[in-house]
Symmetry: C2
Subunit: 242 residues, 2 copies
């Protein structure tokens, strides 16, 4: 993996500058890369990982199954995201992580993370920041789920995913590849598959999006943002001293 293509570094450098040494440290932190096929578990609930998984390519989801077999997805992840950085300190996984598409995953040993916290304070803060952004996204999803209509919630999610994909260079104009089924979107939004379909029809009919196959195009960014009551503050896309 060359430095230029490491999506984690890309992600962090949008939030603050990294020194050459910090970048080198991050690259050396990766112990091995594996491939997980779509629909396979990357980490399971109850696991106590000794390393954290960094998603290099593909789409993954954190999820939980409740008693009647229903599933809730609590996070969607794209290249550059850590899938379970929290397991470094939380130890036991309270949810599973699933590959939505074929995923390339790098392993970062917890021992290495501990060493980073001992020796590289600023890099430690940047990793901490990474988990704080996850938390900010959780809060935003909670608000959308609790207080927005299904349509607004979907619009909100689409805005977020578009910006996150754009931030790692995976948008072409207003089009992104989003290989996520309507059932998976339902599990993300807390909706039934049928209702996801209704809501997508509505967004299409309103001329806000096009979504055929995996290609999602935002046709009217301003109106979509308005429908989804979306503001991007919580994604911390600004470069600041941290």
């Amino acid at each position: 993996m060359t430095r230029m293509t490491n999506p984690l570094i890309l992600k962090l450098e949008q939030r603050d500058q990294l020194s050459e040494e910090e970048k080198r440290t991050l690259e050396n932190a990766i112990s091995r890369v594996r491939v997980v096929e779509a629909d396979e578990d990357i980490v399971r609930e109850g696991d106590r990982p000794s390393e954290s998984s960094l998603l290099l390519d593909g789409f993954a989801a954190r999820y939980k199954i409740v008693s009647n077999g229903r599933r809730q997805i609590s996070a969607l992840h794209v290249a550059g995201d850590f899938l379970d950085l929290h397991s470094f300190l939380l130890k036991t996984m309270d949810h599973g992580v699933l590959a939505l598409t074929t995923c390339r995953i790098a392993a970062v040993p917890h021992a290495t993370l501990e060493k980073i916290t001992d020796e590289y304070p600023h890099l430690t803060r940047m990793l901490w920041l990474n988990t704080l952004i996850d938390g900010a996204i959780h809060r935003e999803w909670l608000t959308a789920m609790g207080r927005l209509s299904a349509t607004a919630h979907m619009a909100h999610l689409i805005c977020e995913l578009y910006l996150r994909l754009k931030a790692i260079g995976r948008a072409e104009g207003y089009t992104v590849q989003l290989p996520i089924t309507q059932a998976e979107l339902g599990d993300t939004l807390g909706l039934s598959t049928v209702h996801v379909n209704r809501v997508l029809q509505e967004l299409r009919k309103e001329g806000l999006i096009r979504f055929q196959g995996d290609a999602l195009t935002i046709l009217d960014w301003e109106r979509l943002k308005k429908v989804g009551e979306f503001t991007s503050t919580y994604l911390s896309l600004q470069n600041e001293d941290r």
Copy 2:
């Protein structure tokens, strides 16, 4: 404030041991204590705090207002919780924090936090852990909101609050003081006030809880846990090396 009563230290020591020096450092981190009355804002959306607020006593909530004036509470906080530790690295508040009761609040300057990250790696990890637990709670709420019935969701919340209050020594047997109105519970669960009332009636009728005034008593812990599909893993109440 004497060491014995510092609820943050109490909280962290349940998760891992702290050295005397770490405890002293935490205590010295507090620059001043203020009191905020019920229904006042502690931090506002859009603020860029230069210090983080540690709740010493009282109940507080993180919240967001959406366009039609509806409110969603994304976190409930009790003594020992940081209300906006994340603002140390996220910089801009993407939500507000509100006092639900009279609150005693200690200020911890971000400059002090930065110094801690430079000099005390283990203490840094413990603060990071603190925010990771917030994140774990968010994920659990997402699952409950998306995939549990209103009744189960309420049961789940009650189980969580009971354990969190017990963990800081604020439970008497199965009774806790919970000075939260039904409207606030609705904003937490994403429900209307009317439905909160229905759901509480049901839990009472089932003999699971008693809730008069502020006193909440769990009458049948096992069945309440079952109704709310509650397991406490996500609260990280175990003591481990971190």
